[in-house]
Structure formats: C-alpha cells, structure tokens
Amino acid sequence: MSKFKKGGKKDLPAVSTASLPDIVFMLLFFFMVTTVMREVDLKVKMSQPEATEIKKLENKSLVNYIYIGEPTDVETNGTTPRIQLNDAFATVEDIQEYIETKRSEVDEQVIPLLTTSLKVDSDTKMGIVTKVKQELREVNALKISYSTRERNEKK
C-alpha cells in the first residue's frame, strides 16, 4: 500500500487572508502619519498663477500664510479682494499683529527663518498685495514666497 495517492483531484488550499489586516494596518499607519489635516478653511477664491522657477517650501512649521483673493461668499462679503489670516478676514493693519503672534509661538533663534507665504489669487490686483508687502517690511518679515502652481513646460 502506497502512502501517496496517485491521481485523485486535490482542492487548492484557500489563500490565507490572515495577514490582510496587517497589510491594511500598515497602509493605515502610513496615511495617518503623512496626513495633514487642512488647517484653515479658505474663505477666499484661490486659483494661483503658474510659474516655472519655483522652489519647494521646506519646513512647514516655519511658514506663515496670508491669503488674498475675492471672497467665495459673494453675497455677504462682496467681490473686493480681502485678506484672510488664519480663519478670518482681516485688514492690512492686522498683519503686523499676526506676524508678531506667530513669532511668539516659535523659538527665538528661528525667527529670522520664518517665511511668509503669500497665497494670492491670480485675478487680484497688485494694489492690495503691495500694501501687504509694505506691512511685512515694517515688521521685518522679509522672507516671502509667492505661492504658485508648477507649470509643466515642454522645452
């Protein structure tokens, strides 16, 4: 009598799904770690201009954002371009205070490294942008970055 059966159909063993949760958890942790929840609700229209000579902004904790554009809610806020700091509309005069607050939140040594990212809608006129820039000059927040999208160009 042979120990091995010959011929005889065998069922293919089912693929074990026991490790599926592990795989999914791994993915889950990856996304949990990389996720950045959107910090602010945009209240202004934002379609940024495109440019080619751009640099990536490193170290997000050292970047302050100023949003400028037409309010999205035209009925209550009109169509004049407005400045948004954090979650609320602001005026040009509030910028200095905003920068000071941001400065007090970080270590003293890194203050010169703070960058202000100007996120401006492409339809905005330069008048308001210039005013903002003058305010930034006055508080000595000189490092700025005009936030743009990347333009892919075929050469």
Binding site: L57, T80, M126, G127
Partner: protein, 196 residues
Amino acid sequence: MAAKTPPEINAGSMADIAFLLLVFFLVTTTMDTDFGLSRKLPPPLEPDQEVVDIKQRNVLTVLVNANDQLLVKGELMEVQDLKEKAKEFIANVNNLETLPEKESKEIMFFGNIMVSKQVISLQNDNGTSYDMYIQVQNELARAYNELRNELSEQKFGKTYDYYVEAKDKDHVKAIRKVFQQRISEAEPKDIGGGNE
C-alpha cells in the same frame, strides 16, 4: 464544573474596521506641498538712508501698467520676449556701451572674472494683475537661472540646477555671485486708476 476557556474573539472583521479607517485617511489626506517664488523684501527704509545713484546703463527698467502691458527700457514688449532681453542685459557678452558696466571680481572657482553691475528695476501699477506680476517675476528669475546654468555648464560641465539639487553650497554661492539676482522693486504708482 470544569473551567471553560473563554471563546476566542472573532478577528475576521478586523480587516473591515482597518479598511474603514484607511479609507477615511485616504480621503482626508492632502499631500499638498507648497511651491513658490522665494523673494527677499528690502528692509524698512531708515530715515537717514542715502539715495544710491545708479548709472542709467546699469539699470533695466521694467514697467508693468494697469492693463498688464510691459515696457522694458522704453520699449513695448511681450512677456515671452522679456527673458531674452533680460539675459542679454545681465550678461552683456559683447561689452556694449549701452549695457551694464563690468568690474573684475575675485570669486571662488572662477578666479578673477568680470561681473556686470546690473540691476533690474521692476515697477508695477496698483492695477496690475497678480498673475502678470508673477509672470514677469518668473521670466526674470528664469533669465538668471538660465545664465547660471550656461555658465556652470561651461565651467564645470554640470548645470547650476545640479548643484542646487546636490546642495553643493560652495558652487551655488560662487555661481550666484557671478550672476547675482538684483531685482529692485520701486514703490508702485497709481496711474492706471488702480483700485482695490
């Protein structure tokens, strides 16, 4: 009665729960990286600041009006042509009288090299659109970067971008010194009825 071993918890639904969480994070994730044109604003004006006189030939005036038209050294121009014009101005290859003066400077890797005293003066109107402003800034930056790339390629056989990528600060600094980005922004004017 014999102690019963507690029944095992069915872990079959674990995958479902994990999937649910996974989908949630997939949806909320924004991997937006912020890109932008980095600039440095001039420090606030000191009351007793001297006005520096710059020779006319060393300045390339770029004016943008409220209708987004471009005037470069008195010539009407399209944005696409600005880069070439700026490159010609910055480099002044043929040492023309009308283009910037050059002076000899000692720079690492290059030794003594003629560096032009160029300044680009950018003036916009309050009514200029932000998009146009960025395009102009971009073209000017591109002029500098292309010149740097050409120079670097000629001298070291590698582009300037390569050194920037490689974080080779010495080379980057040296190349930057030859073609220093000097874009001066005048206070904007309110001629074209620029309103807020």
